[in-house]
Subunit: 359 residues, 2 copies
Amino acid sequence: MNKNNISKIRIKDIAGLAGVSAGTVDRVLHNRGEVSEKTRKKVLEIIRELDYQPDILASLLAAKRNFRIAVLIPEVNQGSTFWRYPMEGIEDGLREIMHFGISLERYFFDYFDRKSFIEKSAKVIESMPQGLVLAPVFAEEATSLVKRCREIKIPVVLVNANVCLENCIAFVGQDSFQSGMVAAKIMHYGLKDNDRILIVNFMKKEVGRQAHIVKREEGFRSFYESNLKHHGKAFGFLNVTDVSEKNMEMVLEDAISSSSEQLKGIFVTNSMVFHVARFLEKNDLNDIVLIGYDLLEENMTYLKKGIIDFLISQRPYEQGFKSIMALFHHLVLKKEVDRDQFLPIDIITKENLGHYIYK
Amino acid sequence: MNKNNISKIRIKDIAGLAGVSAGTVDRVLHNRGEVSEKTRKKVLEIIRELDYQPDILASLLAAKRNFRIAVLIPEVNQGSTFWRYPMEGIEDGLREIMHFGISLERYFFDYFDRKSFIEKSAKVIESMPQGLVLAPVFAEEATSLVKRCREIKIPVVLVNANVCLENCIAFVGQDSFQSGMVAAKIMHYGLKDNDRILIVNFMKKEVGRQAHIVKREEGFRSFYESNLKHHGKAFGFLNVTDVSEKNMEMVLEDAISSSSEQLKGIFVTNSMVFHVARFLEKNDLNDIVLIGYDLLEENMTYLKKGIIDFLISQRPYEQGFKSIMALFHHLVLKKEVDRDQFLPIDIITKENLGHYIYK
DNA sequence: CTGAAAGCGCTTACAG
DNA sequence: CTGAAAGCGCTTACAG
């Protein structure tokens, strides 16, 4: 009575004050009609006055409601280990909210196989979950999935890449352009003004040109553009589609020797940076600054060895965690969720790596 | 029936199988005695076999239990704005868990006033909360508070600084030593091998020598120690107790001109780095790399201007969030919580600052 | 040591 | 359009 009487107004209290039954209050609360305008007004008035907050625990218990959330993301295999971390974030998030009657359906597609994405999409739709966490790797197919979800009223949260956001409730990921700027800043800080820099893009034919990769490169270039002294600075550029050691050897040797000036920095626009690191290690090119993305096992190994100097990380674990939480807030707590949820752009070095690693 | 029959075993079911009543099962479940060893065994057996998971929502609702969590941290005032962010994290965490009947009592002490810490400690004890989030700014006093809490069975989570952890359930904060190493790595990466570096410590008499400040400096030095080439490298060193502009002017001018070699980098071991930045700006010392801690308003201003080059951040918001969550897991969900919860050591530049700022 | 009953605050048919 | 009753899964006295 003394300490805990804060906001303990119950439906019963409202009903009493309005001179109606609890059932009627409930009908008003959930807009399920069958209430005369007059009583509706009266009840709403009282609710507002008392700032009534429903007891969500009791509500969930009584309604025996169950939420099925689906997640459609790439499977983890040796060609693609990144998605392990978002999935861990999702599972941990699930553990926090499962008491609210939430269950998770997991759908994994092959990162390099458009068809498998389409197949799994169909399965998701077939299952009719109450919400979806989606990694829109294949932009076109993802867009049509999102549109379909819109039609059948399944709220979608996009994770990691942003596609067709207008039909989704939120995007959780990184600001790719800005992350490229960060990479450039770090690169520039460690080099001298006229040092030669190479930008390396990895692009598998199966996947195509991904928007966030393009943005990263643009961000990188724009750092130099916005700096008067470097306006118009020229970069070496390399587009790699074949990651075999032999090919890597060939194209990198070529790129490095293509100018009389010594190459001082390499920026790789995605997580495939370890392929470049392997080459640098083998050829004892220790004085080239190498910057890339993501804490893959291979990348971390080269970071610890000092071959990779910096990795940009996108907080994959948090991306997963926040995605499922966004859906939870939307579905269960009926709260507004932020549409754009950009995670910080983390700069990882050998020295701070330890505390970024997920258990 | 088809999809949602997963783990929907109820107390009633257990009771039925054991041939007892729900009340008895409950008594076993909560170890509140008054059950014959024989029935106890039987009930436990069935619980294990069926992997019974109690419905925590129903449990909380029926028990009408209320948890009061206290937080004892520095107040936010102009001399100390850092604690705004942990507090925001705590409030946001609270919002996530308030449905479980959790309320928060806020106790703020003056960062520079030992007495006020002692006073507020007494109030906390007097109130007898079920849990405490504590910023142990004054090591000695905090230790005895923690001991007292131990005696009266109030679980404590330490936030930001680590003191007397053996009597607490968790520490949430940063690895200070490592953060110093990170600062050194960044510093070193941008300078030439023999450039002169100055370490600046701010220390208010009222607070004394704080363990985490010492550790940061040690970490910074150890980076160079562990690098053969720099073994024995000498640093300039400055201990500032008076932050007036006049004094800052004097001591910094002195430190800078104390050697014929030009000073190239300054490492400030805490958030007071803006005092140094002000000096550098005023005296047009643009080519000195300046690294310090924490995203205070003043620091962010100088970071944007390019006077401060890097800030190390300790994720203050997350520190608050994780602290209250740790207590929640311990008290309500009865889960094990990690004892050491080190947050990543974030490297902030002008370019990635944007996405680190808390709303 | 054990069980039956009432209740937590909300929702869901059902009867009118 | 409205109310009374039963129930969600668990807990809490109370009676025996």
